[in-house]
Point group: C2
Chain length 178, copies 2
């Protein structure tokens, strides 16, 4: 009797099955930075999505297991960097635990409004957190874009984007096109 009760409480989809499904679901790579007054934090995320162009709103998910999450949720504003393949070093830096991700002061600076950002990133969007909701062990955050990197309004073609898939970094370009 207790066995059948235990079984009915188990999720029908295990964490391993769920992870296996999403390991094969690729995502563009972003780094999110913020400073809520206690110093800069940055984390690498493949969960950044465009939700609405007018008004311009993006969203991403932050896990309770990430050391950067409390600062991101406490900050009014964040910077979301959308990375090209030549910025894979920033993605790796902000995906590595137990290091000071801001130790190399040549990599980052602050915007006039104060937020830390990685200067190499060709595309970044500064925005204000306008909404959030719980999703299991994570919080999904909606961010209204306030400012975009100058390169966005230039005519220059952006670099090939960085993609994460099955624990490996990929680049999209002519070779990957169907």
């Amino acid at each position: 009797m207790s066995l059948s009760i235990t079984q009915s409480l188990e999720p029908a989809v295990t964490a391993d099955e769920f992870k296996a499904a999403f390991r094969n679901h690729p995502g563009g790579v972003a780094v999110i930075t913020a400073d809520a007054g206690n110093g800069p934090v940055g984390l690498t995320a493949t969960s950044v999505i465009s939700a609405s162009a007018e008004p311009p709103i993006l969203a991403f998910s932050v896990s309770e297991f990430s050391s950067s999450t409390p600062t991101i949720l406490a900050a009014d504003t964040v910077v979301v960097h959308l990375l090209g393949a030549d910025q894979v070093d920033i993605a790796k830096l902000c995906a590595t635990s137990g290091i000071d991700r801001f130790a190399d002061t040549s990599l980052w600076s602050r915007l006039e409004s104060g937020e830390p950002y990685f200067v190499q990133a060709q595309t970044w969007i500064r925005g204000r957190i306008i909404n959030s909701m719980a999703a299991g062990g994570s919080t999904i955050v909606a961010v209204e874009a306030l400012q975009a990197s100058p390169a966005l309004s230039s005519e220059a073609a952006p670099a090939d984007p960085l993609v994460y898939h099955n624990r490996t970094w990929h680049v999209l370009g002519d070779a990957s096109q169907i």
Copy 2:
């Protein structure tokens, strides 16, 4: 005076700039299906993200401009298909406006629980909508996974995934690896 008021109300990031930024931010391709009692709907989305593995929760964004959105938001449960490159035809079908996406009855069936799903998709997750929030012209939906496609618990290697980037379909594989 009225001019300066108008300017201060304008977003600092235009819709065109925002779209340009995300055109270069790739996403894995998914198709979401549902039936709230008025027949099946399906839409192609690059906004499906994993939010939490334990409990297993995913999220996605649906636009007020999509004809499928009212049905998805009214449905208790949805099916999220994570597509491989050999399922690009399903992605194109559910991204095409003004057609009956379920006209070809050889492409889809219903799960025992009633939801419509595309039988070719190697990976799908059936789930229950547990939370949602407004994000400009879209709604971001959180879905708890209830059931996964049988292939997920097999040992077979999944097909190379489909990615959408800069209005083009891509496939990830050895050639795209950094």
